[in-house]
């Protein structure tokens, strides 16, 4: 039993020290949802102050662990302090290939930075944070790089017919460990809005 201040960033996010970026991303989404101010799981158990403290610890852990350089430096300082070896982190490509068909588990809650709708630039931002190249996504999802680029650039006029686009968005979202239904719904909403303009 450790207080939040004494927990490692890995313990805060409930991941192992060799977790891939994708695993950290999912764990972060779960932690963010769990320790949201309105979350049922914290109701009556934690004080508001305790929830705020946990929330900021989660954000800090995520910020450090999702940044390759910061994570390496944290691992070195932390694991040297406790007398161990820094864990060998799998490469991002390994991370993607390790789970060829990432299925949305119960814990796969959608991540949405800044509480914005999922749009092309959001997907690009998440992918880049995870350090995954479009080529890897393309190889994994069998979607052409051009289409992936159009999705991210929100080049709506170039995108394939809706029936195909839905499928592409779903698979792309899954490859990033996001909630496919939410991504599809919000992306299509964006297209609708652009048509109105």
């Amino acid at each position: 039993m450790k207080s939040i201040k004494d927990q490692t960033y890995y313990e805060i996010l409930e991941v192992i020290p060799t977790a891939t970026d994708k695993e950290i991303q999912r764990a972060y989404e779960h932690a963010k949802e769990t320790f949201h101010t309105d979350s049922l799981a914290v109701y009556s158990l934690f004080s508001e102050g305790e929830v705020r403290e946990i929330q900021s610890a989660i954000e800090e852990a995520y910020r450090v662990l999702m940044d390759g350089a910061l994570r390496r430096s944290y691992d070195q300082s932390h694991f040297q302090t406790i007398g161990g070896q820094p864990p060998e982190k799998p490469s991002d490509a390994q991370g993607v290939s390790r789970e060829k068909k990432p299925s949305l588990s119960f814990t796969g809650i959608s991540f949405n930075p800044d509480e914005e709708l999922y749009r092309g630039k959001t997907l690009k931002q998440i992918r880049e944070r995870m350090g995954v190249e479009l080529q890897i996504i393309s190889k994994e999802t069998k979607i052409s790089i051009k289409v992936l680029e159009w999705i991210e650039e929100e080049a709506f006029e170039k995108l394939p017919a809706l029936v195909y686009l839905k499928g592409f968005l779903k698979v792309y979202a899954q490859s990033l460990g996001l909630n496919p239904q939410k991504v599809v719904e919000e992306y299509l909403l964006l297209i609708e809005e652009s048509k109105k303009k």
Binding site: M1, S3, A41
Partner: protein
């Protein structure tokens, strides 16, 4: 194995789950005894569609029958028997530790592989003790603030009672008693603060408390879930318990909200017999399989 089903709020589905899980376990080949210890509303017999039993645990405790086996009520389901006597069971839990253990040994000597005890709602000392004495305590919660709040209240009481039972120092016991009140004057807001406070006065007792925390693994069933988001609440409760208590709560599974449940209760026919293909019945079967495999 003795499993106790408790915590949460009245109406969260403990009796319904106890009965149906017991039937599933008996279908899986285990000899099962259901014990009705719901002080406020003992009615497992109704869920099973049988009349209120004439014999109860008191007949055994008052030595009107020589063996506990004789107060077991047969049911129409092979390998499944019922034992009632809530008042006696919980009074016994209030009794001295030796008597409690004697009763537990008698229950164990029934030769059943699975004993499911429906503790009902509430968190009296007797209920907590039985929950802690069993091989596995199961909390049934619905995804509603009132149910979650009551479950946490129960869990806190059980947690602190377990810690209290593990230490011998009176001053440490007093600290634990104080910690249960969040407005205590010692500034102990949560279990982490408690361990720090105990460590300041008694290192050995602090270590014992940590061992107790490590080995306390209650189980959770989420009932009446309506969406995927509801299902995820179980995982979130697990994470919240890890952060707050430092305990590893085991999320056994969930049971979906299903109209077939209330239909089966009205007909006094257990759901897993009445409509085994219903979604809720499938969920219960899955949880029962996990219990059977955990033996």
């Amino acid at each position: 194995m003795i499993w106790t089903i408790g915590g949460g709020k009245g109406g969260s589905g403990k009796s319904f789950i106890t009965v149906n899980m017991g039937i599933c376990l008996s279908k899986l080949g285990a000899r099962v005894v259901l014990i009705d210890a719901d002080l406020g509303g003992a009615n497992l017999h109704t869920f099973l569609g049988i009349s209120p039993p004439a014999l109860s645990l008191s007949d055994f405790i008052k030595k009107r029958v020589p063996h506990l086996r004789e107060v077991l009520i047969p049911t129409t389901i092979p390998n499944l028997q019922l034992l009632t006597g809530a008042q006696d069971l919980l009074n016994a839990a209030d009794a001295k530790s030796v008597q409690k253990r004697k009763l537990v040994r008698s229950i164990q000597s029934l030769g059943s592989e699975m004993i499911l005890v429906d503790l009902g709602a509430g968190n009296s000392v007797s209920v907590l003790d039985f929950f802690l004495m069993s091989d596995g305590g199961i909390l049934v919660v619905t995804p509603e603030p009132t149910s979650v709040e009551n479950t946490y209240r129960f869990l806190k009481s059980a947690f602190y009672r377990r810690l209290r039972q593990s230490v011998s120092s009176l001053s440490v016991k007093a600290l634990i008693d104080g910690a249960m009140d969040r407005k205590n004057e010692m500034g102990i807001q949560n279990p982490h603060d408690l361990v720090k406070a105990v460590r300041r006065i008694n290192e050995g007792e602090a270590d014992r408390i940590m061992e107790e925390v490590e080995t306390f693994h209650p189980n959770l069933i989420l009932n009446q879930v309506r969406s995927k988001k509801d299902i995820e609440i179980g995982f979130s409760i697990r994470s919240a318990c890890l952060k707050y208590f430092g305990i590893h709560l085991h999320y056994l599974g969930y049971v979906v909200y299903d109209q077939d449940v209330s239909n089966s209760i009205r007909r006094r026919r257990p759901l897993v017999l009445e409509n085994s293909r219903s979604r809720a019945a499938q969920c219960i079967m899955e949880i029962a399989s996990k219990l059977a495999n955990s033996q």
